[in-house]
Amino acid sequence: MNQAAAAPSASLPVPDIDDVNRPYFAGTAVGELRICHCPRCDALFRFAHACCPNCWFQNPDFVVSSGRGEVETFTVVHQAPYESFTNKIPYVIALIQLSEGVRMMSNIVGCDPDSVQIGMPVKVTFEKRGAVHLPMFIPDSRV
């Protein structure tokens, strides 16, 4: 939240790297979608956590996701929230259910926004933004 209440920015938002999410973005930089894993209770979580949200174990690690899943729900954005997204509309924001059972938010890219449907199989791709590689999803034609 260290950029909160700053002036509106003209460039697309880039995640801040911190000690907790560094392994996650180290993964996306080498083409891996990593999911947070608790070695004690074996639970899986999206993104990165300082301690396990299930059992509060202090040192969760990461496993590599298959990068495949399906669209749980989505919205097609026609009105940009702020200036940096005006060139992107219409774009799709979705909640993805990864095959490992973990939910995450992302964009669906590489297809007509109006073709996106709940249950649609998708697979991960990465978009470079600043120094960070952001996981996004495209239709999975293999399924």
């Binding site: 749980e72 729900t73 097609v76 702020y82 939910r103």
Partner: protein, 387 residues
Amino acid sequence: MRDVTIAGAFEVPPRRYREHTSFDLFRMILKGALAEWNVRPREIDGLLTTTGGDVTGHDTYIHGRLISELGIKPALAETMNLGGASHQAMVNRAAMAIREGRANAVICISAGKMMRPGLGAAEIMVRAICDPNLEAPYGPWIAALYGLVATKFMAERGVEARDLARVAVSARKWALLHPEARQHGAGPITIENVLASRMVVTPFHYLDCSLPSDGGGAVLVTRADLGHKWARQPAFVRGYGEYHPRGAVSDAGDLIETGAVLAGRKAFAEAKLTPADIDAAQLYDAFSSTPLMLLENLGFCKPGDAARFVRSGAIDPGGSLPVNTYGGLMSYGHTGESSGMSLLVAGARQILGIAGPTQIERARNVLIHAYGGIMFYHTTTILGVEP
């Protein structure tokens, strides 16, 4: 358990108060409320408030400034924030203090100025409500986050865009009855009008969205004997439920069976009432989809039945369960940090019998449900004419 009442409910008309600061609004609310309530400074021993009324500049010490303004020395005072759920939570915290004998008469107040587009409002609000690293980079904003929930709700429960639009049509019908609603003079709307308005984010058209406004209000929460002294018919706080099961849209868990299910059950259990006992409901409608979800979550309709219920006219003026009798956030106005106060004031006024042209004939029990975040933090309050 000691009975607690709401003895007064006041709100300034929602407008665009461009020339006024949020503290100006707090002063307007206090002046109006105190004129209506006829209480004296020494009779007030509690003051609860939401943050300073402007999303960009949370004033976390606003209670101190209001104490100074009012010249009171309360035993209970706090600035609170649970988003749209703040207002009912204030009533609950006041009720707890009264039941424990720590306070007797508590002013609960909020003011809000919804930022204008073009000032970076969406970006600031996104950073406040979303995970800045996990969610914000994908370009969500408040409407889109609700869009995710609504799309899933519609698919699971067989709800169509026309059904969402029908909720907006009902809110407008109520606003036409409420002289202070922002759309009071705007005339009725039809389902076709809603569907023809521009698409904002799927599934919401412009008229499916609430109306950004400025405003605020206050309620006076008291010991029951003081309630009888200050109001002809005080509104008894019969039941309350609160539940906070998630903090982000991408958190694990059910998106459709929201925290309203448990908050509602707790409130009904405490009041020893069921949905059939409720004469009117105020259901937080940041977007047209949420009253449909809340009708099902709170047990007024079986899962999948809310759209048919709304189509039948049940929630309209003259219907079997009037909903958002003040015009809702969609047609009355969404006053930012004071949004939940509008529902509370509208619900209390029905029981107090001072709802003017929107007064329903039989108002013995009214349910109010509001949430903060994107349906994250839930509060249900049941007010009644008897303890």
